[in-house]
């Protein structure tokens, strides 16, 4: 985890944001994403994690502060171009089959022929274990499968920054583990910069190079916890004392030092 990979590819500098007519949600949020690193964002519910991701994605405009992409300020449209955001809720289009839902990304780019698109989408579905349900409609899928399809759709946008809002929250532990492993595999292959929200501490520590802790009260600083376990990581890692120790540390950071 050193060398060229350590450059700050994306920086949020003193970002402030509040919804109209509401008190501030994010206040002077500052953090940096390192190139090709896996970042996990944790924080209490309502802390503004989703809001922060939308800001990074260029879907919202920060009230104050700047975003830097590769060192230069990036406005909304630049951020939109260079990143992809996967929302927290179910955003599959119910009138499209799984294959068509995944192909949506390619359709929107509109550079490829139908066959090419289909091929690429099928290949991805395959690696997600979704080949069999390519022709199914979303309402025929379990919550877990839906999330996987959404994930596939997002991955197809070929951008350096992935912003994932709790992609695995609807998965059962089995599939979740498979997906975590798969994500690690894929990510290790092309190493895009990832900022992912999760509520699962095991997941955070298993996947992350850096865990960012968003404070519950706007104004406090974002804390970062480096996770230096060697990659590739095995799932047995979570049973090791070093991991358990990190977990205790992170949970205490999250709970603000107070042990409940």
């Amino acid at each position: 985890m050193s060398g060229e990979g350590d450059a700050n590819v994306f920086v949020a500098d003193n970002i402030c944001f509040g919804f109209p007519g509401k008190r501030s949600v994010l206040d002077q949020v500052t953090f940096a994403l390192k190139e090709r690193h896996f970042h996990v964002l944790v924080g209490p519910s309502g802390a503004g994690k989703s809001t922060l991701l939308k800001l990074c994605a260029g879907l919202l405009n920060a009230k104050e502060g700047t975003f830097l992409l590769n060192g230069s300020a990036a406005d909304c449209s630049q951020r939109l171009m260079q990143s992809v955001y996967m929302p927290q809720s179910d955003t599959l289009l119910p009138w499209r089959t799984v294959l068509d839902n995944v192909m949506l990304t390619l359709e929107l780019q509109g550079k490829q022929s139908a066959e090419e698109m289909q091929e690429r989408a099928m290949a991805l579905l395959d690696s997600f274990g979704l080949r069999d349900c390519a022709d199914a409609y979303p309402d025929q899928l379990s919550g877990g499968m839906k999330q996987r399809v959404m994930f596939a759709r997002t991955m197809l946008k070929n951008v350096p920054l992935l912003l994932l809002d709790e992609p695995f929250s609807a998965l059962d532990s089995l599939t979740r583990k498979q997906m975590q492993r798969w994500l690690l595999d894929v990510w290790q292959r092309d190493r895009r910069t990832v900022l992912m929200v999760t509520h699962d501490i095991d997941e955070a520590l298993l996947l992350a190079d850096t865990v960012l802790v968003l404070p519950s009260e706007p104004g406090e600083t974002v804390q970062a916890l480096e996770v230096t376990f060697a990659r590739p990581r095995s799932f047995e890692l979570i049973y090791e004392p070093a991991f358990v120790e990190r977990k205790r540390l992170l949970e205490h950071m999250l709970l603000g030092g107070d042990n409940l």
């Binding site: 939308k54 992809v84 955001y85 927290q88 955003t91 929107l108 780019q109």
Partner: protein
């Protein structure tokens, strides 16, 4: 099912007329109506065709107008606020006030009847379509934007398909209204059509023929509504 229900209604009607001895010039028994319908079998073709054409043209134009209006209302809150009262007003103007204007604009062509059919049928489509467009979830919109969709793509791939079920719900109502609208339109001046025929039969005290044309109108309305329902299956999952 529908068929059985209508059959049951006709049976009850026949019995009621016979039991309460209702005068046939007020409410003829369905048997008389069917006989009259059969006797006049050579006449129906042209009238059905005319009213059908008016209703279909009216419905098509209604869809177009409703589509344009609701897209405008989707794009701009200001426009929605501006168009909404006009929509309501359009439904509270009695035909008697605008029929001379329709005649001046469209003469005694099919278009004056089509105009009335449009006036009657575009309203439920606009209302439903508008509601459909407003039910698009913000998360899906964000997803589309983040995947790089243009405004047109968002409309074509997200907003329109989301609104489609509502559109068909409105269209179903509109189909019934287009038929009755065309019929009423024929009172503005016509030489053909079921509305024309009904009025003629009424003036000639031929109540059985009047109800024969009503039967046909009802069947036409039902057919159109079920056609919309059937079409919907092809478009909406």
């Amino acid at each position: 099912m529908t068929f059985l229900v209508l059959l049951a209604v006709l049976l009850v009607w026949e019995l009621m007329v016979r039991i309460f001895d209702i005068a046939p010039y007020i409410l003829p028994p369905p048997s008389d109506v069917l006989i009259a319908m059969w006797d006049a079998r050579d006449l129906w073709g042209q009238h059905i065709w005319m009213t059908w054409s008016e209703a279909m043209l009216g419905l098509a134009i209604s869809m177009l107008i409703a589509f344009l209006m609701s897209v405008a209302m989707l794009r701009s809150l200001q426009l929605r606020k501006a168009l909404y009262p006009l929509l309501i007003v359009s439904q509270t103007i009695p035909l008697i006030a605008i029929s001379p204007i329709f005649i001046i604009w469209f003469d005694y062509t099919i278009w004056s009847k089509v105009a009335v059919a449009v006036l009657w049928s575009f309203f439920p489509i606009v209302i439903s379509l508008n509601e459909g467009f407003r039910s698009v979830s913000p998360e899906r919109r964000e997803m589309m934007i983040s995947l790089g969709a243009s405004r047109l793509q968002i409309f074509r791939l997200l907003e329109w398909p989301t609104a489609l079920p509502s559109f068909f719900a409105g269209l179903k109502m509109a189909a019934a209204y287009a038929v009755i609208g065309a019929t009423v339109g024929e009172w503005l001046g016509a030489e053909r059509g079921l509305g024309f025929f009904a009025r003629r039969a009424s003036n000639n005290m031929q109540t059985d023929l009047l109800f024969a044309s009503v039967f046909i109108l009802c069947v036409m309305g039902l057919l159109m509504v079920y056609a919309v329902k059937y079409m919907k299956r092809g478009f909406v999952r």
